[in-house]
Every structure is written in structure tokens, then in C-alpha cells.
Amino acid sequence: MFPSSFAYHRPASVEEAVALIGANPDAKVLAGGHSLIPAMKLRLAMPEALIDLNRIDALRGISVNGEVTIGAMTTYAQLLDDAGLGGRFTVIHDAADHVGDVQVRARGTLGGSIAHADPASDFTAVILALGARVTAIGPEGERTIEADDLFVDLFTTALRPDELLTRITIPAVAGTVVTAYAKHAHPASGYPVVGIAAMLTMEGSTVSAARIAVTGATSKATRLTAAETALTGQAADAAVIDRAAAAAEGLEINGDAYASEEYRRHLVSVLTGRVIRQAIARAT
């Protein structure tokens, strides 16, 4: 399988990339390429041009300084290699270690995954749980978008066609903050049939704040607000966790040939309970 012909642009800077995106409305931006190139080989995508971001060093890297800033072109392999990041937000390592395989993690990028907004991406749920924000740059300059406002629908984000996602910022956290990610992976593709990410703030055994998000089950990654409410302000005993897990079910859930709506609903509840227990176990 071969992609159809396209023009190839390899900008050396963010400014150049933004200018190229503006000048080529039918172009696609190439990050890790592990969603885009397969789609092009199947001719599901036939862009007139590719704007390859892989030589823009300014888009790569992780800085931890109170808040955490991750360049959009940072690969999963780089996320896994960063011990400081993994120590602080375990959820990132939980999720990154099971994206695709070694080769996919070597190429695939955090920004690419988020901008693509595959309904079964692992990291859409992760950045929702972390309360992250993304920075995008366009012809009118930079703006930030909260993760809560970023995912609009299937493969659709609030990014404008002429904008480039440049970095992801995780706000600084205070107190005892624990995170975790659990997924039931499709046995062939490895994509989450259901994935749940959680960030809990603990005061002793009480959950003082909770952010929990689901991916794979819904048309876009979504906060499980009912489960969050059921946990917040409660001593996290078995009954409270079970209530939160049960509350996670109240969503519009998609079914497909592999996993029915009913089965996915069950997984959402089971994995929500599991991820809460995992996170809490990390507080001690």
C-alpha cells in the first residue's frame, strides 16, 4: 500500500510551520505518523501536502518546574525515560508503557495523539484527569485551551485548522496527589476498549478532590463527573469506591462488533473502581 502523492514540507521552526499551515489549507501536519501514515496508505487520508514537524527541536522536551510542560512532539518513549515526570504523575507511565509497542512508542507523540483525538486514544483521558491545558499557535498568536474544552467529538478538537498544538502543561499540584490509569486493551490492536485515568488529592484517607476520565467507550474522552462527586469529600472505603464505580456507568456509551455497549458499560464501572484503588494504594 502506498500513499497518494503529496508535497513534503520539513520546516525548521514553529513559525515556519505555522506559515506553511496557513498557506496550505489541504495539508496535514505529520507528527509521529502512526495514525496518519497508515490512514494515508489506506487512502482514507489523501492530503495534498505534509508538514513534517520532526525536525523542530523546540517542540520536544519535558520541563518540570512546579508545573510540567511537555513539548507536543515529545514521544511516548521520551515520556517513559523521564524519571522525574513518572515519579510525579505515575498515570503518564501507566498509560505510555502500554501504548502500541516499542516501535510505536519510539515515534508516536503526545501532541499528535491529543490533536488526532482518536476516541480510543489513551492520553486524551490522561490529560483530562490531570487537568492539563494545551497551547496552540496560529496566525494571531498563542492561546491556551483547557483539556476540559479541547475534545469536541470523534476525531475533533477545539484546535482551529490554522493552529498548531505546541505544548501540554500540567498545573502544579499541592498536597498528596496520586494518579493511575487502567485499561482493558483490545487483544489485537492494543487500543483501549475502555481506559480510565484518575487523579485524586488525598487528605489522610479522605479524597478531597477527584478528576476521573474515560476513553474508548465514548465518542470523545469524557470526565466521569458522577464518579468524581461520589468520591469527593468522602473517606475512601470500599463502599464509597463501589458507589463511585457504579456512578461511572451513567454515560452515553458506544458499542461495536468487538465490545457491546453493555459490555463497555460494565468495563467502565469495573475499571473506575480498579483505578481508584490503584491510585489510593499509591498514597501510602
Partner: protein, 166 residues
């Protein structure tokens, strides 16, 4: 420096393959695996599923293993690539190749080049991997005939050989 080419126009790229600088005139849509096989005649890198699942096309690109069916040849411009043909040195098999030979890690051999590249990359980072770590590292390489049992033993044997010679 930025580069722009418009297809079907071609770009001249330079890639260091198995220690030799090679040049080719490529269309942007040419995949790395076809550059290696068709332009350079290095047919040890296989095309299996052609959908970045099976790992028959795995090569090492600038120190990391990649699925060469999902990388554009133009993206390897200026890069260093190692394929299965570059693993043996001076007539001596790479320890991972020796491990696969000694422990019967292959039958048909179709997945073997990718398996060996993935296993060698693992052992670079982790000279004494556990069975679980080996399985996690070759998750992106499918074998459909030998079975993974002997492949894992092959990698363990290679690790022993490499530790002994280190």
C-alpha cells in the same frame, strides 16, 4: 534548515545504512521499507502486514527501532539506519543472531530480522532482562510459526553471551 519538495518531484536523500553512506532520489510518499528493499536491495527487511502491527519491517533508525512501513524515506534523510544485513560484523554473527541459531528461535524466518533488531535494542538498554521484559520488548513483533517460547530463550541466550563478552 527547512526543506520543501512537491510530489511527484523527488528529493535526493542521504542515509547511512549499515555503516555506508547511500544516496537515493525519492518521492515523498516512498516508505522507508521500500527504500531499503527496492532502492538499496536490502531485502532482509520484510513487508509483513504493512499496517505497523507485525514488526517484520523493524529496523533501527538513529538508535531506536521503528516499523519501516510507517516511516517515510524522506524522514530518514541524514539518519543512521541498521538493518539485519548490518548485524553480523567481520563474518561473525551478532550475539542475538547466534542466540536465535543456538536456541532454535526461528522456523520460517519471516519475522526473524525484525525480532533480532528489537531484541538487540532491548539488550542495549537492559543487559539482563526478565522473561516479562523480553515479552514486553517484542510485543510489536509477531511470530506465526515458531512460537514465542524459543524466541524468548534465544534472547536470554544472547543476553548471556553478551554479558560474558562484556
Amino acid at each position: 534548515m527547512s526543506t520543501t519538495i512537491t510530489g511527484p518531484t523527488t528529493l535526493r536523500i542521504t542515509v547511512s545504512v549499515n555503516g555506508t553512506q547511500r544516496q537515493a532520489e525519492v518521492e515523498p510518499r516512498l516508505l522507508l521499507v521500500h527504500l531499503l528493499r527496492d532502492s538499496f536491495g536490502l531485502t532482509g527487511t520484510h513487508v509483513g502486514c504493512d499496517t505497523s502491527q507485525c514488526g517484520a519491517c523493524v529496523v533501527n533508525l538513529d538508535g531506536q527501532t521503528v516499523k519501516s512501513c510507517t516511516v517515510l524515506a524522506v524522514q530518514a534523510d541524514g539518519a543512521t539506519v541498521t538493518t539485519i544485513e548490518g548485524m553480523a560484523r567481520d563474518g561473525k554473527l551478532h550475539p542475538v543472531q547466534e542466540g536465535f541459531w543456538a536456541k532454535h528461535g526461528l522456523q520460517c524466518g519471516f519475522c526473524t530480522p525484525g525480532m533480532i533488531l528489537s531484541a538487540a535494542a532491548l539488550l542495549e538498554k537492559n543487559p539482563d532482562p526478565s522473561e516479562d521484559e523480553i515479552e514486553h520488548a517484542i510485543e510489536g513483533n509477531f511470530c506465526r510459526c515458531t512460537g514465542y517460547h524459543n524466541i524468548v530463550r534465544s534472547v536470554q541466550h544472547a543476553a548471556e553471551l553478551m554479558r560474558r563478552d562484556a
